[in-house]
């Protein structure tokens, strides 16, 4: 049977695309843990994060946990992912959006006692956008 060159090329392109998608899916799957931008308190509780290694810790600032030391620049709070918690200490200026009940990514290292010593704090924004009045209504409910 004679195959038209046009169809032959089409089959080649489709095969190449399938091979590429397969390769990417495999790579993604392999990268899943390594490409994560931060670790969670659950990872630390499970012993997946070694102490004294530079890493980022992500989660929610637990409500009622945020405390400021008398020196005025040291903050202590607990990061939670709903299952586990990690205490964090940070000395410096926090971003405007950093507050209790919102997302945070802390850069730093875990000390041997399980306290996360952060040298930088990033506020993580979630995907909700709303005007202030509406936020008040949501909070009131």
């Amino acid at each position: 049977m004679k195959v038209k060159p046009k169809h032959q090329r089409l089959v080649l392109v489709v095969l190449a695309a399938a091979a590429m998608i397969g390769a990417v899916l495999l790579a993604m799957w392999g990268l899943q843990d390594r490409a994560a931008y931060f670790v969670t308190p659950s990872d630390i509780a499970a012993g997946k994060a070694a102490p004294d290694k530079a890493m980022r810790l992500g989660g929610m600032v637990e409500k009622g946990s945020l405390k400021r030391d008398p020196d005025g620049v040291t903050v202590r709070f607990t990061v939670s992912d709903g299952k586990s918690e990690t205490p964090v200490v940070f000395r410096g200026i926090t971003p405007d959006l950093f507050k209790e009940g919102s997302g945070v990514v802390a850069e730093g290292r875990l000390d041997p006692n399980g306290l996360f010593v952060a040298d930088n704090i990033l506020a993580k924004h979630d995907e909700r956008y709303m005007p202030p009045q509406m936020a008040n209504e949501v909070a009131a409910r």
Binding site: A17, Y37, F38, T94, V105, Y129, P131, M134
Partner: protein, 239 residues
């Protein structure tokens, strides 16, 4: 599509379409920008910083849609040898690169007050930066090939392979833990952006898209005119 393989027939449509798209795009953009800057309320957390979204989201969309169009043109060139495909790919690339850069710049400006950083190597930001570099690579490859008189097949292969990055950008916030927030608008779950903040976004999205199409058509016409001049010069040299 092969009906438009004939440049004369293509130009007959492209010429008025350029003007229309340009006019409509500008109109929508002005309306969207006016609404986004003066009529929408500020966000409860970000305040007025949220308004950058009306540029950032269309820029991200066009950066990705631009490469998707390059990939489609590349496939139609490789498989069907469509004569306008290489022209289309080369015409789209600089516009796509501009919007990818705009997306990175506006994202960075938004990230400083919101996250507290200009740049972080998280999955979404890194994959978008790679898209920008892919554009630069495509532009360099396509123009080098054109100068050497090639038919643009190398650039077309690059255009198809580069499309791999598009699903990575889109799903990066789902697959990996990233600093960038998850998607706000989806077909399945609707929008988590309040309607009074959302409405200018479709206006600027459509406006930028129409402008993008107008620029791409304009560049295609310029390229076809250049090819015509070159062919005529060659003929007059031969005589």
């Amino acid at each position: 599509m092969h009906g438009y393989a004939n440049p004369t027939r293509f130009l007959k449509i492209a010429r008025p379409a350029t003007a229309w798209l340009f006019g409509i795009g500008l109109l929508l953009l002005v309306a969207g920008a006016w609404g986004g800057l003066t009529m929408t309320p500020p966000d409860y957390l970000q305040g007025d910083t949220v308004r950058i979204l009306y540029i950032h989201v269309p820029a991200a969309w066009l950066g990705m849609a631009g490469w998707a169009s390059i990939a489609a043109a590349s496939i139609s060139q490789l498989v069907w040898r469509h004569p306008l495909a290489a022209v289309a790919g080369r015409a789209i690339a600089p516009a796509g690169a501009t919007f990818a850069a705009l997306c990175l710049a506006t994202g960075s400006i938004w990230g400083r007050p919101t996250w507290g950083t200009w740049w972080e190597w998280d999955g979404r930001l890194t994959s978008m930066l790679i898209l920008f570099f892919l554009y630069l690579g495509y532009i360099a490859l396509a123009s080098a090939e054109r100068e050497r008189g090639g038919d643009g097949r190398m650039a077309a292969l690059f255009g198809v392979v580069g499309a791999i990055n598009l699903p990575i950008i889109h799903y990066s916030v789902l697959w990996w833990r990233t600093l960038h927030q998850g998607q706000s608008i989806s077909i399945a779950q609707g929008s988590s952006i309040a309607p009074e903040l959302l409405w200018p976004l479709p206006l600027t999205m459509l406006g930028f898209t129409a402008l993008f199409a107008a620029v791409a058509l304009m560049r295609m016409r310029a390229e076809l005119a250049r090819q015509k001049v070159e062919a005529r010069l060659r003929r007059s040299m031969a005589e």
